[in-house]
Point group: C4
C-alpha cells in the first residue's frame, strides 16, 4: 500500500505537463517575402486552435475526475499504480494525437483516420479510467474511504460503463466526418465541465 499524496503529485505533474505541451502544435507562420497576408495564414490554421481548446478542456476534465476519484480512496495498491501509469501513458500521448488531427483535419486524405485516432485516444483514457474505478470499487484491497454496499457498487459501475458511450460514438463518427468527431469531443468536454453534470466519484450517495 502506498501513500496517495505522491501518486497525486506525480499524476498532477504528468497531466499538467501534457496539457501545457499542447501549445507546441500551434505553429508560428514563417514571415513571408513580399508582405504575405498574416491574417489569412493565422485564420487558415484554425484547426490548431480548435484542437488545442478541445484537448485542453478534455484533459482538464480528466484531471478534475482524477482528483475526484483519488480523494475517495484511503491508499493506493500496486494494481492501482499500474492502471494509473497506463492512464498517464495515454494522457501523455494526447499532445501527439492533437497535433495529428490539427494537421490533417482539412486534408482530403487522412482526416478520417486522424479523427478516429483522436477520438480513440480519449476513448482509451476513459476505458482505463473505468478499469481504475472498477478496481477501486471491487478490488480485494478495499481502497475506498467509506463503506459502499454491493447494490451501490454495481449501480456506480453500470453508470461508469455508460460513460464510455459518448467517446465510442465520437470515435466511430470519425469514419464519416473528422469535423463531427471534433465537435462531439468539444460537446462532451463542455458537458462534463458544466457543474450539474460533473463526474461523480464512487460514493454511496444515490
Amino acid at each position: 500500500m502506498m501513500d496517495k499524496s505522491r501518486l497525486e503529485a506525480f499524476s498532477d505533474g504528468v497531466i499538467a505537463i501534457a496539457i501545457t505541451l499542447l501549445v507546441l502544435e500551434i505553429k508560428v507562420p514563417v514571415p513571408a517575402e513580399g508582405g504575405a497576408d498574416l491574417t489569412g495564414q493565422l485564420a487558415h490554421q484554425w484547426p490548431s486552435y480548435a484542437a488545442y481548446v478541445v484537448s485542453f478542456l478534455t484533459i482538464g476534465v480528466i484531471w478534475i475526475n482524477h482528483h475526484a476519484t483519488i480523494r475517495r480512496i484511503r491508499a493506493a495498491d500496486h494494481t492501482l499504480l499500474v492502471f494509473n501509469l497506463l492512464l498517464l501513458l495515454v494522457v501523455g500521448v494526447l499532445p501527439w494525437t492533437t497535433a495529428l488531427l490539427a494537421e490533417y483535419l482539412r486534408e482530403p486524405h487522412g482526416a478520417n483516420l486522424t479523427a478516429m485516432i483522436y477520438g480513440g485516444s480519449f476513448l482509451l483514457v476513459t476505458m482505463l479510467f473505468y478499469l481504475l474505478q472498477r478496481h477501486i470499487l471491487f478490488g480485494r484491497n478495499h481502497l475506498l474511504h467509506d463503506h459502499i454496499d454491493d447494490t451501490a457498487r454495481r449501480r456506480i459501475d453500470r453508470r461508469n460503463r455508460l460513460g464510455l458511450a459518448p467517446y465510442v460514438v465520437a470515435t466511430a463518427a470519425g469514419a464519416w466526418s473528422a469535423y463531427l468527431t471534433l465537435a462531439l469531443c468539444a460537446l462532451i468536454a463542455v458537458y462534463y465541465a458544466l457543474p450539474s453534470t460533473a463526474y461523480e466519484a464512487p460514493t454511496n450517495e444515490p
Copy 2:
C-alpha cells in the same frame, strides 16, 4: 466542494511549465559558413529576449496574484474549477503569442496584428481572473475564508474591473505600434511587481 491544495498544485504546474516553455522561442542561430557575425545575429533577435522577459514577468505576476487569491478561499467549487481551467487554457497559449510577437515585431506586415494578439491574450487572462474573483466575491457558495460586507465586496469588484483597463490600452495600442504594446505590457508587469502596488486579494481591509 474540493480541497484547494490540489487545485494549487495543478495550477502551479501549468503556470510553471508555461513560463518555462517561453525559452523555446529564443532560437540558436545556425552557425554560418565563412565566419558570419554571431554578435550581429544575436543582437538582431532582441525581440525574442524582450518578449521573453515581458512574458516571464507577466506570467510571474499572474502566478503571484493567483496565489494571493486562492489562499483567501476556504475551498473550490465546480464553477471556480472551470474558471480556473479557462484561465490556465489562456496561460497555456502565452508561449505561442510570445513567439508570434517575437517573430513579427519588426516585420512590415504582421507586427500590429501580432501585438494585438499578444496584448489581447494578457487581457483575456485578466478578464478570466476578474470573473474568477467575481465568483469568489458574489458566488452562492461563499468561498471566502473571512466575512466581507457588501460595500467592501462592491468596492473590491470595482477596483478589479479597473485593473482590466491597462491591458485594454496595451492591446488597442498595437493597432498603432507593436513596440508600444510591448513597452506597455512591460510597464504593467513592472508596476505590479513593485511591492507597493502589488495585487490585493479580496479582503475587508480598506
Copy 3:
C-alpha cells in the same frame, strides 16, 4: 540533513517532465501531395510508438521504485542528494536515447549502437539507483526509518545487485539485435510492473 518532502517534489517533477517529453519523439507525418497513404506512414513509424511505450513504462517503474525507496528514509543527507541528482541527470536524458532508438531501429547502420545506448541508459539509471540504495543501507547517517540488522542489509544489497543483471543482458543483446534489446526492456518493465514482482524497498522483512 534535509527534509525529504522537497526532494520528493523535485524528483517527481523531473521524472514527470522526462516521461511527458517522451511524446515529442513521435512525429506528425507531413501531409503529402497527391494523397499519399497516411495509414502507411503512421504504420511505418511503429518504432516510435514501441519506444514510447517501453520508455514510459520503464520511467514509471523507476518512479514507483524511487517513491518506495524515499518513503523508507527519515531524511536526506548531502550524499543522497548528489546520488539523486545524478540519477535524475540520466533520467533526464532518456527522452533523447528513446528518440535515438526510434529513429535508428530499422536502419542498416546504427541500430545496434543506438540499442546499446538505449539499454545502457537504463542500466546507468539502475546502477545509480543501486548506489543510492547502498548509501541508504550502509551510510554513516543511518537514513532509514527502521532499524535493519547487518545480515538483512547484506541480503538486500545482494538482491539489489542482482537487479542490475537484466539490463546488462538487454544492453549486451543490442550488439546482436536492436529488436531484442527493445523486447527485453519491455519484458523487464512489464515484469516490474506486475504486483507480485514489484520492487521491494530496503526493509527487514524477509
Copy 4:
C-alpha cells in the same frame, strides 16, 4: 507576507522543468544515405553532452542551495517573491545558453562569445541569489526563522559575496577559451556538489 510552501512548489516546478528541457538541445543525427558513420556523428556532438552535464549539475546545485535558503525563512515578503521571480527568469533561460554553447563550442567564430554568455548566465543567477540572500539577512521584514546577530550577518554576507568570484573568473575566461569556461563551470558545480563544500544557508553557526 506569503506562506512559503507555494513559493517552494512554484520554484521547484520552474527549476525542474528548466533542468529537464536541457535534453532538447541534444540532437538525434539524421540517418544518412549510404550507411554513414553514426558513431562518428554521435562522437562529434560531444559538446552537447558536456554542456548538458555541466548545466544539469549547476542547476541541480542551484536547486539544493535554493532549498537550503528557503527552509531557513519563516515566510516570504513581496520583495523576496520578486527576487525569486528574477532568479527563475534567468534559470529559465539556461536551456538556451546551454544550447548556444553546445552549438558554437568548436566554431572558429562565436565560441568565445557564447562561452561568456554561458558563464554570464550562471553569474547572473548567482548575483540574484546573492541579492535574495542579502534581502533575507538585512531586510526589514526579518524573514529568518532564527535570530542572527549583526556580526554573523555581515560575515555570511561577505562569504556569499565571495561566492560570486568563481563565476566572474569562468565568464572572463571565455574571452580566452570557451573550453576553459566550460571546464571551470564543471569544476564549480562538482565543488559545490561535494558534501564538505556544500553551500551553507544563512545561520548563526560559525
